[in-house]
Symmetry: C2
Subunit: 503 residues, 2 copies
């Protein structure tokens, strides 16, 4: 360990959505950056997340529309195309890095160590080489998250990706996570998806369209347990229509890969009796959640504080408790590529011009299910724990009641806006629509700016477009509010006087 | 003519998008309204415009994806479905009217006549019945527009719809306009579309997908002459890919329905030689423009002023020169259903609470072509006639360069933002994308509010979505502007000092 010290303006640990953005942003501003990555450039999003999953979802829909006899080959082609897309994006990002003069890509496993005068030093264990010592005025942690694999019989065989090798081989284990799922070269005959959250539902649709028999198992009493209930209900119906068997309120107790049997038990005391096993299972996809990749980085020894779930604790400027050490993205509970990206941009700004940062505001999120489910702000159930029911104004417009929904023949989907009665301030919005992801930015901006539904009712939407549902929901608020404006303003002011919730 | 006078709060002439909205809005506020309609409730949009055309566009795409042997029947089914949709929407609107207590639907042809003390009186010639005399404090003209049919040999046979009968029969004439096009029960073998504007291009795609051979003839040197040039170029390529023959820079000189020959001549002096005829033509769709339906209403006699194109001249509150007479929609040059709708809402507000109205601002528009073309604000060519080139900052991002565009495999489409250098105020935006109509409301709101690209660069877009192109274009502005901010602010201020254009 007599390696000489290499000095940089900033050391970034993790070359995923957050780390790449910080590194490229700082390098563009003339800073010298070391970017440390033990696995593949691009992180989860590019390699085992959004890029392959969204490509597969898109292609799988087309496979589902083909005549039956063409689907088998088309499904294999779709899986191969998703891998090619992943590889192309990664090569693009690697080229982008190679072209960024100020960035040195350091391959290896990083670990924080106290440096001189308590400033952090990053030790990088390179493969087969010496340990490198990187020192910088600031270290940015952006190592992301990993799939949680519960300690159940049979699941210990889940592969973890450990290779930096960009080519992939058919997974040897029958237990998969997002890290290995996209290495499949053909759809399993019978896939059990453990967990009906966003990833679980997205992949259930995709593999059903590719021709797999798919069974989804979820402990909660419904699919998409974190989403708006009415949205989850539509997704549940669509899963059933796609031939997916969904079992909610049940817990998986084990999986025997030799016999292909998944065993179950009721998750609640009052659960209905159910078949205690699922038979003839080829593959199990574990999608019960993510945990921050905060282990083995020497964080606690370096003074970085974690919460009980392993998330790194940061302040508004992404500073951890250790001086000069920052953290962003899934590592601090971000959960989405666009959140990591936004945090990275804010951090670059802060590291360049350290003006105080305004609060981040709520982040929008989209489940790329059928239809897509977009959400910004809390769900209605969450809002009801924070606001008196009488102050919430909820307006839902079905897409089938818009003219575009009619011309498209839509049978489901809606826009729901939740506002404060009287003032009309937008608290939360839900969009369940074929292209919810394209409709959400407007609502995210409106929710963050505290735009009122009085104003949104004057939104101009080209005719005919599904966005009309946004304006119609705001209109419904206006019509409901006009006659009782005085009374409601009074009720709101009395309530604000008594309680000042953290909004 | 001894009919007794019937009195109302407001008489609305025309039960299309604008008139219906005014009537229902005022009735909801407790006003007694007479709504006069000579033809079909719903106006052009419902009966011969957006509703059947967008339904047909949607269904035609699906027909185009079918195996060849299934297309002929599917095309007939699609045309029938578009008619059913039109009829369903009209029945819905008629039911809505019947349920509105304050509205009396008066069927017949309306005409303004000077009433007592110069206040307008509306005379309605009912079919086979007496002339009714309607009097109100205010009259709203909302008669819309009609297809222009140039006085060329062969085109005089274009049908005009004169029946109030909701059922339709195959058009007897081989010369069609939007008023008769949707009565076709099967796609023509060879359709010539005269005019490559929005309607012409939309219907060229639809009928090509339905199996027609389609030839488009356009006097200007490109398709979509009023749209952004780069957008028109993409649509031209897609038309060619869909098998549509497009001839620009040529003028139609006549059509012989007996021989099926359309004759052409070059539109410009330097035009290239071309086949002077198109042969074996079954149907001609005339789509060279619209003119306001301002004839035979007694407008000029009543003191309402028109411009040279027949548009009714109004002030910001939609007041014509005749006291108590208002006009909205296509009749004042609106051009789009959502514009008529917005004007109707503003007018209802003004008639209820006559506060001064703020200027309307620019309206967004969408061509439902492949891909859709959305625009708000002037085109780049128009802006260059108003602004010095050095003050315009133009940023275009191809959708193929966004991650969602990649996962969707998009080959074309873009987002273009035009802003003032330095301040970054958004002047115009163009979206060429599969669902441009869902992306435009955000940009319309931003352009109307004078939002800057500095701010739009902080837009949160869920990952991955095509909306990323909006943020990327704003980012490009920020990166281009940061290094030269001082210089540009100076140049802008000097220019503003010298000239104050009407922005």
């Amino acid at each position: 360990m007599t390696a000489s010290i290499e000095r940089f303006h900033t050391v970034v640990i993790g070359a995923g959505a957050g780390g790449l953005t910080v590194a490229v942003g700082l390098a563009n501003l003339g800073r010298r950056v070391a970017l440390v990555e033990a696995e593949r450039v691009g992180g989860d999003c590019t390699n085992v997340g959004c890029i392959p999953s969204k490509t597969l979802i898109e292609l799988a829909r087309r496979v589902g529309d083909l005549p039956v006899e063409q689907r088998e080959q088309a499904a294999r082609d779709a899986l191969a195309a998703a891998r090619r897309r992943r590889d192309a994006v990664r090569e693009h990002e690697e080229g982008w890095l190679a072209d960024s003069e100020g960035i040195q890509l350091v391959r290896g496993r990083a670990r924080l160590a106290p440096g001189q005068r308590g400033a952090p030093e990053v030790l990088v264990a390179t493969e087969g080489g010496p340990v490198r010592r990187l020192r910088a005025g600031r270290v940015v942690l952006a190592t992301g998250s990993q799939a949680v694999v519960p300690p159940l019989p049979g699941l210990e065989r889940a592969d973890a990706p450990t290779s930096t090798e960009p080519t992939s081989t058919e997974p040897s284990s029958t237990v998969l996570t997002n890290a290995t799922l996209f290495d499949l070269t053909s759809p399993p005959a019978h896939l059990v998806v453990m967990g009906a959250g966003v990833i679980g539902c997205e992949m259930a649709f995709a593999f059903a369209r590719l021709g797999s028999r798919v069974s989804v198992v979820e402990m909660a009493d419904r699919v998409l347990p974190a989403s708006e209930e009415a949205a989850a209900e539509i997704v549940r119906e669509r899963l059933a229509a796609a031939g997916v068997t969904t079992r909610t309120g049940v817990r998986m107790t084990g999986y025997d890969p030799r016999t292909g049997v998944v065993s179950l038990e009721p998750a609640g005391a009052d659960a209905a009796p159910l078949p205690a096993v699922i038979e003839r299972v080829d593959r199990v996809l574990v999608a019960v959640g993510r945990r921050p990749a905060s282990r083995d980085l020497g964080l606690e020894e370096a003074g970085v504080e974690l919460d009980s779930r392993g998330n790194v604790l940061v302040d508004r400027a992404y500073r951890t408790r250790a001086p000069g050490v920052y953290a962003i993205g899934d590592l601090i509970g971000g959960g989405f590529t666009h959140v990591a990206h936004a945090q990275a941009r804010r951090l670059v700004r802060y590291l360049t011009v350290p003006f105080p940062l305004v609060p981040e505001g709520d982040h929008g999120s989209v489940a790329f299910t059928e239809p897509e489910v977009g959400q910004v702000g809390p769900t209605l159930a969450q809002l009801r724990t924070r606001w008196p029911e009488a102050l919430l104004s909820v307006h839902r417009v079905d897409l089938a009641d818009t003219d575009r929904g009619g011309t498209m023949g839509l049978q489901d989907g809606f826009v729901q806006l939740v506002a404060v009665r009287g003032t009309g301030r937008l608290l939360a919005a839900t969009v369940v629509a074929p292209d919810a992801a394209e409709m959400l930015p407007l609502l995210t901006a409106a929710q963050r700016q505290g735009t009122s539904l009085w104003r949104l009712s004057r939104l101009e939407v080209p005719y005919p477009a599904l966005g009309e549902a946004i304006r119609k929901a705001a209109d419904a608020f206006v019509f409901a509010s006009l006659p009782r404006l005085h009374r409601e303003a009074g009720a709101y002011l009395r309530w604000r006087w008594r309680s000042r919730p953290a909004l």
